[in-house]
Symmetry: C2
Subunit: 230 residues, 2 copies
């Protein structure tokens, strides 16, 4: 275990900026007591779909992907970066994970006993409300995603993923992706060959500049157009 990590405390952690802002010092202390820190190398699995879900996960470093293992293929639901937490729907249903999580980059996470979390939801209405807000935003995001995946053709889906990566994950342009082409395909619901081809087409049309894993959106308006058109 990394000593630096162990010296950290929820009280001065960035996590506080998230839903934890409604917690008192004592409540944060409760979370802190039931917390432990784990490091994952890129590629390592945080948890597998179907396994019990005894804690919720707060990402403090790196990048992880949440993905459903379907029939042969994977579907990546979202990427998670610091400071964000992973809280699956199984926690309040049957205590199972309904998706898997894997580190895309070297990643550090805090694991907190789920019962402490549930207790706080019961005791602190602000926290509960904040949590419900959070789950709701997640649901809205999923709606957009399912519409994109089921109603748009490949160029539109790739466009949506590129905007997602630029605006929500890497937050710059150009951005260097740490995910593979396969991941890109799993995010947009297509084969990796197709994702590569579409990327190449967008590059040839001058909408993107691509050098290895670095992508720059050159013509935002036209890419937006492609996203709209389907």
């Amino acid at each position: 275990m990394n000593k630096m990590q162990d010296l950290e405390n929820c009280k001065n952690c960035n996590c506080k900026t998230s839903i934890f802002k409604s917690l008192s010092t004592e409540e944060l202390e409760q979370i802190n007591k039931g917390r432990y820190t784990v490091n994952y190398k890129a590629g390592e699995i945080l948890f597998k779909q179907g396994t019990p879900s005894p804690h919720f996960v707060c990402l403090t470093k790196g990048l992880a992907k949440l993905y459903i293992e379907g029939y042969g293929k994977n579907l990546i639901l979202s990427l998670v970066k610091p400071v964000d937490y992973i809280f699956g729907p199984g926690t309040y249903v049957d205590n199972r994970h309904y998706y898997s999580a894997a580190a895309v980059e070297d990643t550090t996470a805090c694991l907190v006993d789920v019962n402490i979390f549930k207790q706080l939801v019961r005791e602190n209405p602000d926290f509960a409300e904040e949590f419900i807000c959070r789950v709701s935003r997640q649901a809205i995001f999923n709606f957009d995603q399912v519409v994109s995946l089921t109603q748009k053709q490949m160029p539109g889906r790739i466009a949506d993923v590129l905007f997602y990566l630029r605006d929500k994950i890497y937050e710059k342009n150009p951005f260097e992706i740490s995910i593979s082409r396969q991941d890109l395909a799993d995010l947009s619901g297509m084969s990796k060959e197709s994702s590569i081809r579409i990327l190449k087409e967008l590059k040839d049309e001058g909408i993107l500049r691509i050098t290895g894993n670095t992508i720059e959106i050159l013509n935002e308006k036209q890419l937006r157009q492609i996203s709209q058109t389907g």
Copy 2:
């Protein structure tokens, strides 16, 4: 307004069997006071995607569809029957509907001021927990759906929809569907022509018996197989 409806009271309504079971008589009374009953004819719209969402809806009679209006097509998220309630993710985010709802059959619904609901979530931890459970189950359902829609081919998707209709909506076999072929297509993410063709194929293979709007699953095992295979 129907007098019968007005005489009803939340205290002896079937809704109590749902998440409302954790509410006290006084709390149910609060809901009852802020409640009004509305009747919709088949085809009428309960609310439109994008409009404000000032109340949550409890279905007491009929059948409704929840659908996202996408790019040209609709995607039906789910069907709602009595006694179930409709509570969109926008309520805790920006107070907008993220999907539309329309009556499929003649439908009666209770509308309750969303602020009363939110207040109860804050005051009654059991109710809050029950509500989160509910939202979680919804999320799990959506996961299954998105996997079906993005990873299975048409016969598998139709198979999933048929099981959904038999087990969750009509709860009998054979069942007479009150939804159109277009709705069937919107549930399974394909064109209506395709949905008709797959249905016909399943009929020709002896897996289904179809007479007009009555469908009977004859060979459950084989249909399950088709759902699995994709």
